[in-house]
């Protein structure tokens, strides 16, 4: 009986030790595989991260190029359509206005009508109070041009009045501003129409 117990205990011990030994051998093998897997995964992540970074850089540089191109196009368009150098602006001003009640102004540049403005009572009042109105803005190429301004309204003794003023001007480089001034010539009791350039 005692012998049987001893044999069974020994067998159990041997079995337990064997299992432990097998388990001890298996453990390092699983850890190595997991580590290898993890390293491979890390490498994949790093690689895809690099790819993303590269892609992001490409997108950013493309975006910058598009922005640069957009800016260049905008500047080019502005230079072509509204070049500051070709700008000419025409202003109207009135001083006193005792001998002339302004009704309308018509502007011709090089024989072509470019503006025709009809004044209301309030607008004339604003001009008489010192207002200056920009009546027209144009783009003109450099060189000589002719401006003809035709003023209509009521002259002395409220008679219908129509007068023209002509000016030849040279458009150089840079913007140009011309003022059409209506003043009273007291000596002659007549209105006077003067075109002058702003310096």
């Amino acid at each position: 009986m005692t012998r049987k117990l001893f044999i069974s205990l020994t067998a159990g011990l041997v079995l337990a030790l064997g299992t432990a030994a097998i388990a001890q051998d298996a453990a390092p093998m699983d850890a190595d595989a997991a580590m290898a897997d993890a390293m491979a995964a890390d490498a994949d992540v790093a690689e895809s991260r690099n790819e993303f970074r590269q892609l992001d850089q490409d997108v950013q540089s493309l975006k910058k190029e598009v922005l640069d191109l957009n800016r260049d196009l905008f500047l080019l368009e502005e230079e072509l359509l509204f070049p500051a150098n070709s700008q000419v602006a025409f202003f109207i001003s009135m001083d006193v206005g005792e001998y002339f009640g302004l009704d309308s102004v018509s502007l011709k540049i090089d024989g072509k009508e470019v503006a025709n403005y009809l004044y209301t009572e309030r607008e004339v009042g604003a001009l008489l109070r010192g207002g200056v109105q920009r009546v027209h803005m144009a783009n003109l190429k450099t060189g000589d041009h002719e401006l003809v301004a035709i003023f209509t309204g009521k002259g002395p003794h409220t008679r219908d009045y129509r007068r023209g003023a002509t000016m030849n001007f040279n458009k150089g480089i840079g913007a140009k501003y011309l003022e059409l001034e209506i003043t009273d010539r007291v000596q002659k009791q007549q209105p006077e129409f003067v075109i002058k350039e702003w310096e």
Partner: protein, 165 residues
């Protein structure tokens, strides 16, 4: 049945498209203009900002215009003191004929002469008369093409509603 429905839908869409084309200005800022008036002074639409403004395009050769103008004059006389203005825009080539008709009908609202048709083009006038109602902010709110008896009631309702805004 399906074909019938499609046909009805098409007819409705064509109607909708045509009415949209004619009232394309509705909801938009009213294009500004200045014209010489029957009293000799120049009038500019933008100077009426703050008033409800009715712009009535008419011509001496247009029968419904002749019918409508005295009714518009009544509206003008009634609501002028509470911020309503009416500008009649005559599109005849010869303003003398228009003056004769104004005197004959005895209308009191200002009539402007658009002999060059510039303003008519601005407002895409393709019928006669055309009545445009502009709100206090200067936006086109209603457009009526032509005139039929009873339209004056519509005008009245629209003007009263805009005056209350």
């Amino acid at each position: 049945m399906k074909i019938r429905n499609v046909a009805i839908g098409l007819v409705f869409s064509v109607f909708a498209a045509s009415s949209l084309a004619s009232s394309g200005l509705a909801g938009q800022p009213a294009p500004d203009f200045a014209l010489k008036s029957s009293s000799g002074e120049n009038l500019r639409l933008s100077e009426y900002r703050g008033d409800v403004v009715m712009i009535n395009f008419w011509a001496t050769w247009c029968g419904p215009c002749r019918q409508e103008m005295p009714l518009l004059d009544e509206l003008y006389s009634r609501y002028q003191r509470v911020g309503f203005s009416l500008l009649g825009v005559n599109i005849d080539d010869d303003s003398r004929r228009a003056m004769d008709m104004i005197n004959e009908l005895g209308v009191s609202f200002p009539v402007l002469f658009d002999a060059s048709k510039e303003v008519s083009r601005l407002y895409k006038v393709d019928a006669m008369p055309v009545t445009v109602i502009v709100d206090r902010e200067g936006n086109v709110r209603h457009i009526h093409q032509g005139y039929k008896p009873g339209y004056e009631q519509k005008y009245l309702d629209e003007i009263r509603s805009l005056l209350r805004e």
